[in-house]
């Protein structure tokens, strides 16, 4: 950009308020408080590491038992996959929805984010279709419900604690860690910087 060109403008995606971009300055919408530019959350190594660690936790959380229940002499384990496939017969369709919301979509979003961010962090050219990939990662954001599932576990636990002994398995703690990492990932990502980086 030459010194004489007009300042770049940015329009709040939520409410359309328009602002001039001041290089290096933080910017939030004055009208609806949407976070617009966060210079500290530049697309960087931290974001990539958090995303990779989250992906590893998803793999771990799938394989270990999630909750263990004991009553009399019987023990029963539930993995996340068991839980997602709890509906059978005509309700199988619901199983697929649950599996997608708690596991497949969070995993897909992570994969898309890593695909887009990794080349930028390594100072390489963006991979093909990176813009579309990040667009989808953003579109899927409301449908990734890992944190709701974790709270659901706690609610389910309080319901059966009276009739049986219930303990959390290792996958529960991995999944809880995943929820925290996904939250951190969101805070570490400045969408404006990422789109600017993909534009080049």
């Amino acid at each position: 950009m030459t010194p004489n060109s007009p300042p770049e403008q940015i329009a709040c995606p939520t409410c359309d308020a328009i602002y001039d971009v001041q290089p290096g300055a933080r910017l939030s919408c004055e009208r609806c408080h949407t976070r617009l530019i966060d210079p500290e959350a530049r697309v960087g190594l931290r974001l990539l590491l958090v995303s990779l660690l989250s992906a590893a936790l998803i793999f771990g959380a799938v394989t270990y038992p999630f909750l263990t229940i004991k009553r009399f002499w019987m023990t029963s384990d539930a993995t996340i996959i068991d839980t997602a496939l709890a509906f059978d017969g005509p309700l199988l369709f619901l199983s697929i929805i649950v599996l997608a919301l708690i596991l497949l979509l969070p995993a897909l979003r992570l994969a898309l984010t890593i695909y887009v961010v990794a080349p930028l962090v390594l100072k390489l050219r963006p991979l093909p279709l990176a813009k579309g990939a990040f667009g989808w990662a953003e579109r899927l954001r409301p449908w990734s419900m890992a944190e709701i599932f974790i709270i659901g576990c706690v609610v389910a636990l309080t319901k059966i604690i009276a009739m049986a002994e219930v303990t959390f398995g290792p996958a529960f703690y991995m999944f809880a860690g995943l929820v925290i990492l996904l939250w951190a990932q969101d805070k570490l990502l400045c969408r404006y910087s990422l789109w600017k980086a993909l534009e080049k």
Binding site: I69, F87, L91, E138, V166, R191, E199
Partner: protein
């Protein structure tokens, strides 16, 4: 009054926030389709809203849980289950269930309808109130799915073959579908309309895109 991309005769990208001249159809930065205001959005909002309400009816009529303890089997709808908890003395959990599965979904339907109507017919209401309501629906919408997850967890966990078992009932499906449709309804809403309805009548945002952009330019001299 806040300057907007629209009042400046420009169009903002809802995906990446880039600003382009008003005739631009596609954002060169991120590839998203550009509209100054999405006038189809209210049709979609109402379409998904109606499907959400329709799916919510079987969610309350059909059983949510089929519980079997020894030889005693019972099927409960959402409300029956909560009332049963109430009679067993678990007042707290019963209230949480009634709030999460009955009060919140109905409030969501009411708020989305109110938002769409006030924007569509420019009914008296402030943009502050509309914005707060929209944020609430956006935030709470996803959390209604917690009921479906709890049923799934209980069903996969409580499998003591002969002694006790919990099976999800068909209402779980109706409820999940209703939550998804309601989320789609809220996500279809072009939130920028929330602030437009406070503008003077001649800037009516819901007419054809090109016409009303021209009207905005005529009526609003450059500001700032």
């Amino acid at each position: 009054m806040t300057r907007t991309a629209r009042s400046d005769g420009k169009v903002g990208c809802r995906r990446c926030a880039a600003v382009w001249p008003k005739e631009t159809l596609r954002c060169t930065r991120c590839g998203a389709r550009l509209t100054s205001r999405d006038r189809h959005s209210l049709t979609l909002v109402w379409f998904w809203w109606l499907l959400g309400v329709l799916a919510y009816v079987p969610a309350n009529i059909w059983p949510m849980l089929e519980t079997r303890v020894l030889l005693d089997a019972s099927e409960d709808t959402i409300i029956e289950g909560a009332l049963k908890l109430l009679t067993h003395g678990s007042v707290g959990i019963a209230i949480i269930i009634l709030l999460a599965s009955v009060a919140v979904p109905i409030a969501k339907f009411a708020i989305i309808a109110w938002l769409a109507l006030t924007v569509q017919y420019r009914l008296p209401s402030g943009s502050k109130a509309r914005h707060r309501a929209f944020e609430a629906v956006e935030f709470v919408g996803r959390w209604s799915m917690i009921d479906v997850f709890v049923v799934a967890i209980l069903a996969s966990l409580v499998q003591f073959s002969v002694l006790a078992s919990v099976k999800p009932g068909p209402a779980a499906f109706g409820f999940a579908i209703s939550v998804i449709f309601t989320m789609l309804s809220a996500l279809s809403f072009d939130s920028r309309l929330i602030w437009d309805a406070d503008l003077p009548e001649e800037d009516v945002p819901l007419a054809g895109q090109s016409d009303d952009l021209a009207a905005v330019q005529k009526s609003a001299p450059p500001q700032g």
